[in-house]
C-alpha cells in the first residue's frame, strides 16, 4: 500500500523512508512518523477491536491518551502487548499486529458480543452465571477470561535489560510545550539546576501540532531556537522520551526514559531507565487533553479527536481523510478547520451546537450552526454522518472536539482534588498540590498560547526567587491569544442507540444512566460498576464526559457529582523497568566466606544462607549420594577431627567502660561477672519475651567483648543493640562495631582438634588446664599472624574456633588441612554441622522461629530474675509459662528404617489428625550416623515430662504417619564430658 494520505509539510523526513509491517502487510513511512501517523498515511483505518463488544476501532488520538489503537509490537520474546500506536516511534523493520480478536481483525468472531450488547449492560455479570453452581469455574469464567484482556504476553523471559538512576535538581519541568520551554529558559538563565522532560521524542508539545507565531517566527522555529539555547546551558538537562509518571513524597518524582525502544535493536544497552528525580521544586507543564462528545455510534474508525486530525496534518503531513467533517462545541475545532484547509485537506463541513459562528466563513467549508451529529454509519470505516437538522454527509473522517481537559494527573498523585472551572469546562488543579509543586500553561487552565508562555516564565521566575536565585529579567516570548470559547455540550440525546464515553471499555451513556438507576451514584461507585476510566488510558478522554452525563442523570452540577482523581503512573510503565537491572545472580548481593575459593577447589556443594554462599558438603569420589558425604563428614569429625568455616556467624566488637553492664541488660542470663579470657553462652530475648537469638560472647579485656550472633540475625541483633545503646541507655560508655567481615573463623572439632591446632598456633598452652572449655585469648598463628582462639563447641566434641583477619583466611584453611593430614582431617559443611547440633540438641533458627519462649526450649532458668534485662518481664506472662505449653524434645523413629521429615505434627496413637488433637510439630530432622537412625528436634505439649512416650509423627502433606519415641533433646553426650575433656 503506498502512502495515499501523505500531504506536504510536517516534520517527517521524506528523504528517510522506513519499512514496517502491520498484520504482516508491508508498509512504508518516514523518519519522524509514529506508527499511527504511518498507518494513517497508508490508509489503514481499522486498527483494533474494543474490549467488551469487539467493535471495529481506528486511531482516535495523537498521543498517550489513545484508547483504541493498541497493538502488539515486535515478535517473539520481544512481543509487547497494548502498545499505543500513537506514541510508538517508527523504526526500520517494526512489526505490529492488532489484538483482541478471534479470526482476522476484519472478521472477529467475538464481535457477536456486539449483537448481545442489550444483555451485557453495566454489571450484568454480577447478576448471572450463578446457576448451576459448578458451572462458574468450569464454563462461565474461562469464557469471560479468554474474551477479556487485550494483548498477550509471549510467556517468554523478557530478553531486554533495564536500569535505574538518581537525578537531583532545583527545578523539574514536566512537559516541553510553550509553558515548559519558557519556564526552562527563565530558570536556566537564573542559574537553577533544571531538568526538563517530555514523553515525546521531539520537544515542543502543541507547538509541533499547531500553526502559531511566537515573537514573529513560526512556533516550530521558536522551539528549535529555544532548544538550541537550552542545550547551551550546562545547568539544564533535557530529557526527551522521558515520562514523569508519578509525584511522590518530598519532591521525589518518578521518570521513565525510553533509551532504545525507538531502535530495531537495543545493542545490549538498557531498553529503559527508571529515574528517581529529587527536586526542590517541580513545574507541571503537561498541557491539556481533548475529549469527545457522546453521540450515537461515535466510535467508528475515522471518528477522531479534532486536535489529533490537526496534529497528523501539521506534524506528520498526513490527511486523516479525503472528506473531513468537524463536530465541535468550542473554538479550537474551528482552528483545526482553518489549518486543515490551509494544508489542502478537504473539509466539507463544520458542525457546531452553538448558534453563532466564531468566524464569518472558511472557504469551501459548510458552517452548520446549532446542529449536532446524531448518528453515523460505516461498519469498519466511517462512511456517512447524520445531523440533527436531518442532513446527511458522506465523510470518511469526523473530527470531534468536546473541549479540553487540563492534564492535572500529577497534581492528584498525593490525593489532591482538582476543582471545576466553568469557563474552560474542565477540572483545574486545586489548592492542595504536592509540596513544592507548581502548574503552568494549559495544565493550569491557561488555555491560550500567549497565556501559556507567560505563566511558564512567571512561575519559573517566582520559583527561582523563592530558591534565592537572582533572576536577570530574561525576555518573555510573546504570542497572540487564540479564541477558546466553549459551550458545555456533552452528549447528543433523543436516540436509542449506544453513544460511547469510554471507548476502550465500551462504556456508553446507557451504562451511566443504568448505574444511576441502580444506586451507584457516587463517582467511585460509577467507576467501579461501569468500569468507566479503568482501561489502559485511565479515562484520559472519558472521565469528564462520564461525570457530566452522570451529573445530568442525577440533576446535579458536575462539581456536586464529584471529581475523579488520578493514581500513578501517568501512563503505564513496564514492570521490567520498575524491576530494574538485576533479576538473577545479582538479584541480591552475594557474600563469600574466606575459604570460598578453597572450598570450590574441593568441589563443595554450596547453599545460600542469608546472602552467604556456604559449603553444604564436600563430595568425595566414592560418595554415591549427598548423604554419604554428610555421614562421612560427621563420623570423621566425631572420631578424629573436622574443620568448618564459621565466618558467617555475626561478630560484634563491644567496647567501653560499661560494656559488661550493657551486655547484662541485653542478655537474659548474667554477664556482668564474666572473667577476662572466658566465653559465655548467652540467650537474647525480644522485649516481648520471645527467644530471639543466642550465641557465645567472649571477654578479651575488661572493656572488650566479642559477641557472636546467628548468621541470620546478625544485622537485627546489631540494630537492636544500637537501639538499646542510643535510646534506652544513652549514657553508658559502650561502642559497637560489626567485625563479621573482618575475621575469618574456623571451627576445628573432634578428639584430635587439639593436636591439629597445636601445630598452627604460636606458643599457647593448649592443655585442658592451660586452655579449658570456654576459654578465649588473643593469639598469633603460623609465626606471628595476629588471631583469636576460642574453645567453644557446637558439635559437642572437643572443639575450638580460631580466627585471623580475612585476608589470611584462604591461607589458614590450607594450613589447617595440611596440619590435619596425619589425622585424616575432614572439612565439613552446613549439613554435617546441622546433624551434629541436632544430635547434641542445640537449637537454631528452625527452633527459635520467633514464636517460642525460653520456657518452650527448656531454658527459662537462663532468664535471671535478679536483674532487669530485655524481655524478662514479658517472658513471664501466664500463658507463656503454663504447664500445658509445648516443650523442646528429641525424637527417634521407633523403626530404625523409618525416616522423618520436618513439619510433621504430633498426634496421639488412635486419634484423628485434627486441629484439636494437634500436640506439636517436628522442627528439624536428620539421619544420625551416630545413632544410625533418623532423629529430630520438635515441640510437644508437656514434652519435658513425656520422655519415653511413643507418639505419631503425622505428615499428611507427604503422606506419611510413623511412630516416634520422645526423648531428651540432648541425645549425644548429654553430660557434655566430651567438649570439656
Amino acid at each position: 500500500m503506498s502512502q495515499l494520505f501523505r500531504i506536504n509539510g510536517g516534520l517527517t523526513d521524506r528523504s528517510k523512508p522506513i519499512n514496517f509491517t502491520f498484520n504482516n502487510k508491508q508498509m512504508v513511512g518516514y523518519e519522524g512518523d509514529t506508527l499511527a501517523s504511518a498507518l494513517l498515511a497508508n490508509g489503514q483505518r481499522l486498527v483494533g477491536r474494543s474490549f467488551k463488544y469487539h467493535r471495529p476501532r481506528g486511531i482516535f488520538s495523537a498521543g498517550s491518551e489513545e484508547p483504541n489503537a493498541l497493538v502488539q509490537l515486535r515478535t517473539g520474546a520481544h512481543q509487547e502487548p497494548n502498545t499505543r500506536a500513537t506514541v510508538t516511534e517508527l523504526f526500520d523493520g517494526l512489526t505490529a499486529t492488532s489484538q483482541n480478536h478471534r479470526g482476522s481483525l476484519g472478521f472477529d468472531f467475538m464481535s457477536v458480543t456486539d449483537l448481545l450488547s442489550p444483555f451485557l449492560s453495566a454489571g450484568f455479570y454480577y447478576k448471572t452465571f450463578m446457576w448451576p453452581k459448578a458451572f462458574w469455574e468450569k464454563i462461565y469464567e474461562p469464557i469471560i477470561r479468554s474474551s477479556a484482556g487485550l494483548g498477550s504476553l509471549s510467556m517468554l523471559e523478557d530478553p531486554d535489560k533495564y536500569d535505574k538512576g538518581f537525578l537531583h535538581c532545583d527545578l523539574l519541568i514536566a512537559g516541553s510545550g510553550p509553558s515548559g520551554l519558557t519556564a526552562a529558559l527563565a530558570a536556566g538563565h537564573a542559574g537553577l539546576r533544571v531538568i526538563i522532560a517530555d514523553e515525546d521524542y521531539v520537544l515542543g508539545g502543541r507547538l509541533l501540532e499547531e500553526d502559531h507565531n511566537i515573537d514573529g517566527i513560526s512556533g516550530q522555529d521558536w522551539v528549535l531556537q529555544t532548544l538550541a539555547e537550552l542545550t547551551e546551558m550546562s545547568n539544564v538537562r533535557i530529557l526527551p522520551r522521558t515520562t514523569i509518571y508519578g509525584a511522590y513524597d518530598h519532591g521525589i518524582y518518578g521518570a521513565l526514559e525510553r533509551k532504545t525502544d525507538h531502535l530495531a535493536d537495543s545493542g545490549d544497552k538498557p531498553r529503559q531507565v527508571l529515574w528517581r528525580i529529587y527536586s526542590k521544586r517541580a513545574m507541571i507543564c503537561g498541557g491539556a487533553t481533548e475529549r469527545s462528545i457522546a453521540f450515537a455510534n461515535n466510535d467508528r474508525p475515522g471518528i477522531m479527536l479534532a486536535g489529533a486530525v490537526r496534529a497528523y496534518a501539521t506534524r506528520y503531513g498526513v490527511a486523516t481523510g479525503n472528506k473531513v467533517a468537524i463536530f465541535t462545541n468550542n473554538d479550537s475545532g474551528w482552528q483545526t478547520a482553518l489549518e486543515l484547509v490551509a494544508k489542502g485537506v478537504n473539509v466539507v463541513a463544520i458542525i457546531d451546537p452553538r448558534d453563532t459562528a466564531p468566524r464569518t466563513h472558511i472557504s469551501g467549508v459548510a458552517m452548520i450552526m446549532g446542529a449536532s451529529v446524531c448518528n453515523t454509519s460505516g461498519r469498519k470505516a466511517l462512511s456517512r454522518i447524520a445531523l440533527s437538522n436531518g442532513q446527511t454527509l458522506n465523510v470518511d473522517c469526523l473530527a470531534v472536539s468536546g473541549g479540553w481537559s487540563p492534564n492535572v494527573h500529577l497534581t492528584c498523585h498525593q490525593r489532591g482534588r482538582p476543582v471545576w472551572n466553568d469557563t474552560i469546562a474542565g477540572f483545574v488543579p486545586g489548592g492542595d498540590l504536592p509540596v513544592g509543586q507548581f502548574v503552568a500553561g494549559a495544565a493550569n487552565g491557561d488555555m491560550t498560547l500567549g497565556a501559556a508562555l507567560k505563566s511558564g516564565h512567571k512561575t519559573a521566575t517566582l520559583i527561582a526567587k523563592d530558591l534565592g536565585f537572582t533572576t536577570n529579567s530574561s525576555k518573555v516570548a510573546k504570542a497572540d491569544d487564540e479564541n477558546f470559547a466553549i459551550k458545555q455540550f456533552w452528549h447528543v440525546t433523543g436516540h436509542k442507540q449506544r453513544a460511547w464515553i469510554d471507548l476502550q471499555n465500551d462504556v456508553t451513556t446507557k451504562d451511566i444512566t443504568q448505574s444511576q438507576a441502580e444506586g451507584f451514584r457516587s463517582v467511585e461507585h460509577l467507576k467501579r460498576y461501569t468500569t468507566l476510566g479503568m482501561a489502559t488510558d485511565q479515562g484520559k478522554t472519558s472521565n469528564v464526559l462520564g461525570l457530566a452525563v452522570m451529573a445530568e442523570a442525577t440533576g446535579k452540577t458536575i462539581p456536586e457529582t464529584g471529581t475523579t482523581i488520578f493514581r500513578p503512573p501517568y501512563s503505564p510503565v513496564a514492570i521490567g523497568a520498575f524491576g530494574g537491572r538485576e533479576r538473577g545472580q545479582h538479584f541480591h548481593p552475594t557474600r563469600l566466606t574466606p575459604s570460598h575459593k578453597w572450598a570450590k577447589e574441593q568441589g563443595a556443594e554450596f547453599v545460600e544462607v542469608g546472602n552467604w554462599m556456604r559449603a553444604q558438603w564436600f563430595p568425595k569420589s566414592n560418595d554415591k549420594t549427598w548423604r554419604d558425604s554428610v555421614d562421612r563428614e560427621v563420623k570423621k569429625t566425631r572420631t578424629s577431627v573436622g574443620v568448618c568455616d564459621v565466618s558467617t556467624l555475626g561478630k560484634i566488637d563491644i567496647k567501653g567502660r560499661d560494656a559488661a553492664e550493657f551486655l547484662n541488660k541485653i542478655y537474659s542470663n548474667p554477664f556482668a561477672k564474666v572473667p577476662v579470657g572466658r566465653v559465655r553462652y548467652g540467650l537474647m530475648l525480644r522485649e516481648d519475651g520471645i527467644c530471639y537469638d543466642d550465641g557465645t560472647t567472649a571477654r578479651l579485656a575488661e572493656d572488650h567483648f566479642v559477641m557472636t550472633t546467628t548468621t541470620a540475625n546478625a544485622v537485627l541483633v546489631y540494630r537492636n543493640m544500637e537501639f538499646a545503646r542510643q535510646c534506652l541507655f544513652p549514657d553508658l560508655d559502650v561502642h559497637l562495631i560489626s567485625t563479621t567481615d573482618q575475621w575469618a573463623q574456623f571451627a576445628i572439632a573432634g578428639p584430635n582438634s587439639r593436636a591439629v591446632l597445636s601445630k598452627i598456633i604460636d606458643k599457647v598452652d593448649m592443655s585442658n588446664d592451660g586452655f579449658p572449655f570456654m576459654a578465649c585469648s588473643n593469639i598469633t598463628v603460623c609465626d606471628g599472624t595476629p588471631g583469636r582462639l576460642f574453645r567453644i563447641s557446637f558439635s559437642g566434641e572437643l572443639a575450638y574456633e580460631v580466627a585471623v583477619p580475612v585476608r589470611y583466611g584462604d591461607a589458614l584453611i590450607r594450613e589447617i588441612i595440611k596440619a590435619g593430614k596425619e589425622f585424616d582431617i575432614t572439612p565439613y559443611g552446613t549439613e554435617a554441622l546441622g546433624v551434629m547440633r541436632i544430635e547434641k540438641g542445640h537449637v537454631t533458627g528452625a527452633e527459635l522461629n520467633g514464636q517460642v519462649t525460653a520456657f518452650n526450649v527448656n531454658m527459662n532458668n537462663m532468664i535471671s530474675i535478679k536483674k532487669d534485662s530485655i524481655g524478662s518481664v514479658l517472658s513471664r506472662r501466664e500463658m507463656m509459662i503454663a504447664d500445658d505449653q509445648i516443650r523442646l524434645v528429641g525424637v527417634k523413629t521407633v523403626e530404625l528404617s523409618d525416616s522423618l521429615a520436618s513439619g510433621a505434627h504430633f498426634v496421639a496413637k488412635g486419634e484423628k489428625p485434627t486441629t484439636k488433637n494437634d500436640q506439636g510439630w517436628i522442627a528439624s530432622v536428620c539421619y544420625s550416623p551416630h545413632f544410625e537412625q533418623h532423629i529430630g528436634l520438635g515441640f510437644l505439649e508437656r514434652g519435658h515430662e513425656r520422655h519415653g512416650e511413643i507418639i505419631r509423627a503425622w505428615d499428611g502433606v507427604r503422606g506419611t504417619d510413623i511412630l516416634v519415641e520422645i526423648v531428651s533433646a540432648h541425645m549425644y553426650d548429654p553430660e557434655g564430658g566430651l567438649q570439656r575433656g
Binding site: D249, I252, D688, V715, E722, F723, C727, D731
Partner: protein
C-alpha cells in the same frame, strides 16, 4: 520520602529502617512491682494518631543513628528530625 538527618542533611528514606512510636524510648523499670502492666502498655498499646506523629527511624545504611522524626501520618510532611540519643536524655534516660 526524604529524611533530613540532623548531621547528614537530606537522605532518601530507603536508607533508613522504621521502628515505631517514640514512646518505645520510655522503657519501664523491669524491677517495679507493676512491671507486667507497664510493659504490656509499653509494648502493645499505641496512640496511632492520624496527624503529627513522633516516630523512631534507624539510619541502617548510613551512620547508624537512631532518629526521632516528627511526621504527619496524613500528609507524610516531616516537621522535625532529632537524634534519638538526645531525645532519650531529654526524656530522662540518663543514668
Amino acid at each position: 520520602m526524604i529524611i533530613n538527618h540532623p548531621l547528614l542533611g537530606p537522605r532518601d528514606a530507603n536508607e533508613f529502617v522504621h521502628l515505631g512510636d517514640e514512646s518505645l524510648i520510655d522503657r519501664p523499670d523491669g524491677m517495679a512491682d507493676d512491671a507486667a502492666n507497664k510493659f504490656h502498655n509499653y509494648m502493645y498499646l499505641r496512640d496511632n494518631p492520624a496527624g503529627k506523629y513522633r516516630e523512631l527511624w534507624y539510619h541502617d545504611a548510613g551512620d547508624r543513628s537512631w532518629l526521632v522524626v516528627t511526621r504527619d501520618t496524613l500528609t507524610h510532611e516531616i516537621f522535625d528530625v532529632e537524634l534519638a540519643r538526645d531525645v532519650a536524655r531529654a526524656r530522662g534516660r540518663s543514668k
